[in-house]
Assembly symmetry: C2
């Protein structure tokens, strides 16, 4: 070969890789990174490499078949022992843009609060035995004082199925054969969460794990429809998010009944009251942060109004109108509108096209800033109804896309998302547990990032999956790619604020606050403060 | 809303979907499809839909967790009972462009032939017991007559580890405690194949399953390095491929030693003799097809010269020069050059850049049609060395890409593949068993097809995976997408011929032959002949 062939080749190679990498949205971050950031990035990359070998390449007593980015539920215990997780848990993460308000509090905390409620009762549809325990779901409800009962233990032979028992009494009297009070806790928490055996063995298909997933909501509703508990959960959610470095929240609230249940067991809490109370709690938390001189740590929270993908078109008209009224009353609290529930099984967006088009016209007429923020493409389908939801979400002008797991199969829609600045709310752990991918390594996220699609990382339903906050999701994304580094995480966090529904001025302020926290975080890596307990 | 809003919306929706679908390479096939083809496509879609419900949505006694496109090793028995498989197994499939010659014959057939060889002996490194059996690998070798031994049974207490025993004698004297002769067969076949438990449970990581995968080659080498067996395997491979509807083959032959072993146990069979014999067998098979008046069914076969990704640069120089000499001697039998072995563990292409650039210059000087046909991106890595092989494969002018599993993460390289007409040799079942994806549904193939990347479906190593022929791979691809139909399969089959190394005139003839077979196949679906036994 000619003597300069090698040189020519290597130059062309570098140019090609650079050209492709420049499509990524963290390419610019890299170019303008501070020396501290580059140094911190090097530190993180070195630890990541070291832990890939020392932790993620050897079998552990309870965890065989490990690798970096492996299935979350099996990896969780190991993750929490890593230095990378220690770093990420301190990272300022910007906004959490995709979550479901019924599933934001640690399951055992939810249960703990529930046990304190005098009105909260439990029933089961069949007698509880060792054999039936884990296939029988508890049902909870806040009762009117007149309905309080002195029914015997759920595990007593004289328990009549369907009878309400006070939750605390049910726990205290839970048969020792079934584990006593701790057995009660394990049973309830098992019904609120997905365990690794369920996800990776017994229910290892999308259809089966969705049934289990749906059942956790059937159970939790008994807690979250009871307004006194709901309020505590909202506050806990906001405070624990802040501790994980989340400074802004847009969370989905599923409206399905006209009223929630009040402390007296009455169906009396209107949607307006929910928003008013939500606003009050947000303010309380802000005040608390101000008292702690941590105002930068929390900008606020909003609700994405959602209803379910199985309502009729007439019913949807009612919810859409309700959403408009609430937006008019609480302009700073209503972020947008969405439909939720399994896309693979329930109605596609196109089924609701007439009410949705009417809504869009109404919103325009009224001059409201009330966008659709649709779930779409939460499927591995190719050309299925769930996959086709992506066309409708984008044509209807969705502000962001919830999941968009199947977007990677749509070259034209990817182009449109980039042009229109439609961000994807990507939930890597949720998608993995719900069996759309076997690990983050095979998740389409890497492809989307490399194509320059704007992305915000999200947790979806952490009470069910056990991925509280955003640290676990950021962890998986960092470990699942050799390209991703600290500046990728920076981009993802910053994008979450950029693609929020905050108005321009608020957004600018939020980003300034976040940049301050980010600089401090970077400094704590380079000076080693982050590893001090 | 304005009265025509809905109409405007639906028109825009159809236009958008059509615009995106037109990027697919089967879009043109659809436009020019015959009435028969459209009718056959409808028939196939209806059966697919029916079987998705009747077979792939219910649990079967031995197969829980089923779904369309599910993991191959668990699904295999059900697949063979479907009407869709019955149809696909009769389909003319064009060319098989990615396969490894050591792994192309059903494992029990390989063993059957081996048992007939007087020179073929077996040894084990440790005494065989119930406990050690499935962790002890057999080693085979054709011996010189002077080396033949009358050593006792492998399972006898007096067997000295490392002693050669004739294979037939070893089988006949296999202890009844270990299952007798059938136990011997199960043990050998277990060492040549991957079973579902290994793939989906015990070795459920890429690194672990690759070790098992590699061990099957360590075992099979004892058969395939013995030239008398090799010849039988080549003929069996070609004949069974033809029965599966494959009319042309470019298969990878791994050259690592200078000679194969002849019938007398001597290292005497040169690379040139291998090619000469390969050419003779191809001619025999052609003659046989001509006698059967089925000349259209078999166009021929070629070898892609490969060596292993762990040789030194100096050694590679020798293999590359050897490849050039063979191309000069057997221009119609040498298709190209490649490197094989785990990309995740062995040397990347860039490590060999100097010898590879020298080779390219030499080939150009000599005016040879001897392209690289590189394995690249057989990984779920993102920015790893294995992933980066894609840059080098393409910059070095690869004719096709073996696997290219990670290409989906490379927007710029996808563009280049489309512009330059670089086809991907996609092996969906191989990728799934080797744990790059949990099922064909989550394989990047759908994304690549939707982006218009040229693809040829391939089987890779069917003796190890049990996906003999191409029917199983086509089956999975059809079931794993709602867009894919009969005309998608048509496109994939036709592309395999278009992207072969056949010269223009031969290629045109091959395509004409294939079109004839295709028309007959389509007709057999519409008139129901295909379902007659």
């Amino acid at each position: 070969m000619a003597s300069n062939d090698l040189e020519v080749y290597l130059t062309a190679r570098t140019a090609l890789i650079t050209e492709e990498r420049s499509i990524r949205r963290d390419f610019k971050e890299l170019a303008k990174a501070t020396e501290d950031e580059l140094h911190a990035d090097q530190i993180v990359r070195a630890i990541k490499l070291e832990e890939a070998k020392s932790i993620w390449a050897v079998d552990h007593p309870d965890t065989p078949n490990v690798f970096p980015g492996m299935a979350y539920l099996s990896a969780r215990n190991l993750i929490t022992k890593t230095k990378i997780f220690q770093i990420i848990s301190k990272m300022p993460k910007g906004a959490l843009l995709h979550s479901h308000l019924d599933a934001m509090v640690n399951a055992s905390v939810m249960l703990k609060y529930a046990l304190e409620e005098p009105a909260l009762h439990i029933q089961v549809a069949a007698p509880l035995t060792k054999a039936s325990l884990f296939s029988t779901l508890p049902a909870f409800r806040g009762l009117r004082p007149s309905e309080y009962s002195d029914a015997p233990s759920l595990t007593s032979s004289s328990y009549i199925p369907g009878t309400w028992v006070h939750i605390k009494r049910a726990r205290d009297s839970f048969s020792t054969d079934l584990g006593g009070p701790e057995g009660f806790d394990a049973w309830v928490i098992g019904a609120l969460t997905i365990n690794p055996r369920e996800a990776y063995e017994t229910h290892n298909t999308v259809a089966k794990i969705w049934k289990k997933f749906q059942s956790t909501f059937d159970v939790v509703e008994g807690f979250t429809n009871f307004f006194p508990l709901k309020k505590k959960y909202i506050k806990d959610f906001l405070l624990s998010s802040i501790e994980d470095g989340i400074s802004f929240v847009e969370t989905r609230f599923t409206f399905f009944s006209e009223y929630l249940i009040d402390a007296n067991g009455e169906d009396s809490v209107s949607h307006a009251e929910i928003f008013r109370t939500f606003g009050e709690i947000v303010q309380e938390v802000k005040d608390e942060m101000a008292r702690q001189r941590r105002s930068d740590a929390f900008i606020g929270a909003r609700i994405i109004y959602t209803t379910l993908r199985f309502v009729t078109c007439d019913e949807l008209d009612w919810y859409l109108e309700d959403c408009i009224k609430l937006k008019q009353e609480f302009p700073d609290l209503v972020a947008g509108f969405d439909l939720v529930g399994s896309e693979n099984d329930l109605k596609p967006i196109i089924y609701y096209i007439e009410p949705l088009l009417r809504f869009r016209s109404r919103v325009e007429e009224l001059g409201l800033d009330l966008p659709f923020i649709f779930h779409a493409g939460e499927t591995y389908g190719d050309g299925s109804e769930a996959d086709n939801n992506l066309y409708d979400a984008i044509l209807l002008g969705t502000k962001r896309i919830g999941h968009g797991f199947s977007l990677v199969k749509h070259p034209k829609l990817i182009e449109m998302c980039k042009e229109k600045g439609i961000a994807l709310e990507v939930c890597p752990i949720s998608n993995e547990i719900l069996r759309l991918t076997s690990s983050v390594c095979t998740h389409p996220l890497a492809s989307l990032i490399n194509q320059g699609v704007p992305v915000a990382l999200c947790s979806d339903d952490p009470s069910v999956f056990g991925n509280m906050g955003l640290s676990f999701d950021f962890f998986q994304v960092l470990m699942g790619s050799d390209i991703n580094g600290l500046l990728t995480l920076r981009m993802l966090a910053r994008q979450s604020l950029e693609h929020s529904t905050l108005a321009d001025e608020e957004k600018a302020k939020a980003i300034v606050s976040w940049e301050k926290q980010w600089a401090n975080f970077v400094k704590s890596i380079t000076d080693g403060r982050i590893f001090e307990v």
